[in-house]
Every structure is written in structure tokens, then in C-alpha cells.
């Protein structure tokens, strides 16, 4: 299946495929620093293991961006 991660197409062979799997596949090192949206809907952290991603789904990673400005 093809999914869209941050607007970029990505081919996924694994089935079933959860949000948690996607974070691993994309080597998100600190999942605590990211919020996930699936087709525009916020995904709760406790649902990462259970919510499945399907063909054509759009996933956005929203990163915490704070400082480093001081």
C-alpha cells in the first residue's frame, strides 16, 4: 500500500501496520517529541499500538519545537 507521511508517498509492505510500526519504520528516535495526525485527526499516544494505517492514509508528524533560542 501507499501512504503519505508528511506529504511524501511511502510504500508499505507490512500488514497489519500500526501507528507504532510507522514510528519505528521512520526511525523516530524520540516519539515523546512528536504528535501524530492520521487523516487530519489527532491520534492519542495510548492508541499508537492499536490504530491501523490503511492504503492512501495521510499521516503527519508534528514535532515539538521549543527553544534553543536563549
Amino acid at each position: 500500500m501507499i501512504i503519505y507521511v508528511n506529504g511524501e508517498p511511502q510504500e508499505i509492505k507490512q500488514q497489519p501496520f500500526t501507528v507504532a510500526d510507522l514510528l519505528v519504520l521512520n526511525q523516530v528516535e524520540m516519539p515523546e517529541m512528536v504528535s501524530v495526525q492520521l487523516n487530519g485527526e489527532f491520534v492519542k499516544r495510548e492508541d499508537y499500538q492499536t490504530i491501523q494505517i490503511n492504503d492512501g492514509d495521510e499521516i503527519d508528524f508534528l514535532y515539538f519545537m521549543g527553544g534553543g533560542a536563549r
Binding site: 506529504g7 495526525q37 489527532f42 527553544g67 534553543g68 533560542a69
Partner: protein, 269 residues
Amino acid sequence: MISFTDQQLERYSRHIILNNVGIEGQLKIMQGKVLIIGVGGLGSPAALYLAAAGVGTIGIVDADKVDLSNLQRQIIHFTSDLQKTKTQSAFEKMKALNPDVHVNTYHLRVTAENIREIIRDYDFVIDGTDNFPAKFLINDACVMEGIPFSHGGILRFSGQTMTVVPAESACYRCSFPEPPPKNAVPTCAEAGILGVVAGMLGTIQAAEALKYLIKQGSLLTNALLTFDALKMDFRKVALRKRADCPLCGENPTILRLEDIEQAVCELKR
């Protein structure tokens, strides 16, 4: 009704000539009140542009003094300002740039205790802070007081910003319900920031404040704008106001402000 002096007509002529601004728009700017929390990387360009634009009252909040390591990006502060308070340094530049502007200085850190009273006097707030406890505090206080604000964050070569109009659009907690765990936040020493990225983001925030004052165009609400200056990619992700947001949702669990433990940043200021 304020009337324009000849000097003001001249000073603001490039605004006034714009169809979307005109005399009425410039008047709204001159009657506007904007609070900038943090006159660092983001607040510096915002304060200068808003002063130049003639925003009637600009509040600036910062508890820090100007440090040599600030000058690579905090363009309102000069080498001659080292050890001055940031509020005093910024005040001097803003008044020199535009004596028309009334500048209120708050040499303090915003806390759960003081923030609501401070923001209440303003039409729009710009978050130019450098840490998550302050960002969550500003979001929560602005939502509770119903004051629109611009969130901003920067990291290395990237920036992100969203505008929140309380009750109407998604708040920061709709997408980021809780601050990140302390140990996950990169330390200041690890992070770093390309100076100009702060300028790009702070300038976008100032543009949102001006648009809010003149009621033109559409604000960056229900969207998170992220850019990566390395590739010069800009991306806008649509956000939704969540019915189950802990702050602005139907059954909020956050009913009063609380100070969140400060993330560790022991780097010399």
C-alpha cells in the same frame, strides 16, 4: 478619533497606500496593543517590525540580561547592550525607531500567578519564549482569557508557528496535549539555532499580529506552519480543534493555571 500628523502620513505612507490597510487600517494598528513575551530570537524582529509599523502599545516581557551569545540572532540587542536587561535594551531601540509607540516593559518571567493580569491589557500576544513550560502557560492563559496569540518555536534550521483564536480555532494543546518529558527535550547546547531562522519565524508572528489588528486576510489558525530553512521547504498542516482537548474541549480537565517544572537548560545565558 486620532488624526494623522504630516509626519505620520509620511512615515506610514507605504502602509496607507495598500488597499488592505489604508488610513483605517493604519489607525487600527496605531490603536492596537500587542504583548511580546520574550525579547530574544523571535521577539527581537517582532518588536522591531511592530514598532516600525506604529503599533500603539507594545508590551515586552523578559527577565534576562543581554549576553554575548544572544547577539548572533537577537537583533534588537547590540554589543553595547551587554549586561543591560533585555527589556531596557529593546525599549531603547523601539523608541529610537519610532517615538510614537508606547512601550511597556515587564522585567520578569511570566508565571501562573502573574500572566493573566499582564495579558489582559492586550489585543494579541506573541509567544517568543524558549521553553515548553512558558509555551504551555501562554497557551493556557490566552485560552482562559480569550486573547488571540501566535505560538512560535524554533530548532536548529527549522521553525513552526500557529495562531490561536480562543474558542474559534485549535489551541496548542489540541495537538500537543502535554509538555514533553523533561529528559526528551534537547539541551540548549545540543540544539543550536541558525540565527536567521529566528528572524524568519519572529517576522511571521509579527505579520500575524498586524493582520489580526487590521482584520485582513486569514490568520494562521487551525494550521501549523513548519519550515526547514536547509531545504527552504514550507509546509502547512491542517489542525482541528479537538472536542476532547484538555484545555479548550467540551470537558476540560485544565481549569486553572499551574507552573510546570522548568526544563533544564543550564547553559550559560
